[in-house]
Amino acid sequence: MVKIKTDILIIGSGPAGLNAAYTAASHGANVIIVDEAITIGGQLKQQTQILNNLPGEFNSQRGFSLVDDFYERLKSLPITFLLRHTMIGIYKNNSIGVTNGKETFPITYKKLIIATGAAEEATIFPGWTLPGVMTIGAAQILLNREHVLPGNEAIILGFNEFSLEVGKQLESCGVNIKAIVAKGNYDVELFHEAKNVGIRVVSNATIISATGVNEVEKVVLNIDGIEEEHMVDLVCIGNRLSPILEAFEILSCQLAYQEDLGGLFPKYYNSLETTNTSVYVAGNAAGITNIGGILITGEIAAWNALYSLELLEYSQFKNRSRALWEQLYRIEESQVFKARIAAIKETYKDESLALPPFVELLLEEC
């Protein structure tokens, strides 16, 4: 019979979960980190681009090497990794139920940090269910994690920083990107970047259909009213991300909505505690942001969990907490930070609580 107890339980071993684990374990907390994947790192494992916006304590590096970096930091700390374990639900006493596919058992915790990250939104069109049509994240996983070529001739649907980055990575491995399809307005700077590397971006364009017998063979685009056909064996859907909500929902955390945070997300305070006491949120699950924001929110959640476990002195906690929020303000896209602070303000309002002066200050600043 498995019976597991811990101070801090973290769901998700992506950058937010790892940074939370590092912070928590290096201040004396027992930590269990649960992830359904085979190795730690979440979506960072297949990021080959050099990450900008890393907080000061991290060296500028590529995503997959940051995972190795974390591995080195974490291996001597009191952290239990439960990889290939999936959180599937909760027990009546609020323990988290985890399965490894063979058995299911509860983990009891004092504080829970949920860092389940984000999921890629789909884009629908006739033929989007064909094999060979996949999310751009899936194509990147094949390419960089599995070292498998996802196709030879590709169309990318959706023009944004990430879809262009993966487009470049695909090209560098020999995939011919026939076009990136941009719906309407796009970032001029991004357009020039694409142009510089020789990737064609078609604007004011949509996909009419993807067809093929057993897998995708052809797509028809509508570019500014003119139809264009392409023979392809790969269609990548490069839509936006939205926070993964399942765990929060079954924990009865209330949800809120902010367009700039990626849609629905769990309501939280400036402690990153959700409306379910002792449940914290970190990383993209708390609103879609950049890698810096992901790492910092992981640390903020951990500091607050530590403080409420009385593992920190007040002054130590207060100073670091403040510094982290200021760092977040500097590192995050301003509209993301604004949306986050607005969301926190809403949470206090909904719960009829006074806004802490510090948050008020941040509100003024942005």
Partner: protein, 106 residues
């Protein structure tokens, strides 16, 4: 977009079927789910939830933020029954048994 375009990959429910459900009074994802089986398949609406919410928002002219998400169910991922049976002696306080067949039927 063609009305026959699939929205729910698992149960293969298309735009048309969702719009009909909305016409019949459905306002939330779960209303549509119960009428059409959209989101009831193996992925449990993880892929179609926001697609459907967007259709509802457009059809009813309501902000996306006001369209409730589908109610997520345990287990959060498909799980073998055999994996669920192990370790059950832990927290069960009231042993739930069935005396008469009709008791779970309504």
């Amino acid at each position: 977009m063609e009305k026959s375009t699939i929205v729910c990959r698992c149960e293969e429910i298309n735009i048309d079927e969702i719009e009909i459900a909305i016409k019949n009074g459905a306002q939330e994802f779960d209303d549509i789910k119960r009428l059409t089986r959209c989101g009831m398949g193996t992925c449990q609406s993880k892929i179609c939830m926001n697609l459907v919410r967007k259709i509802i928002s457009e059809k009813l002219n309501k902000p996306l933020g006001e369209i409730a998400p589908s109610k997520m169910r345990m287990p959060l991922k498909v799980t073998r029954l055999s994996a669920l049976t192990k370790n059950i002696d832990l927290c069960i306080e009231e042993k739930a048994t069935l005396e008469e067949g009709e008791q779970t039927s309504v």
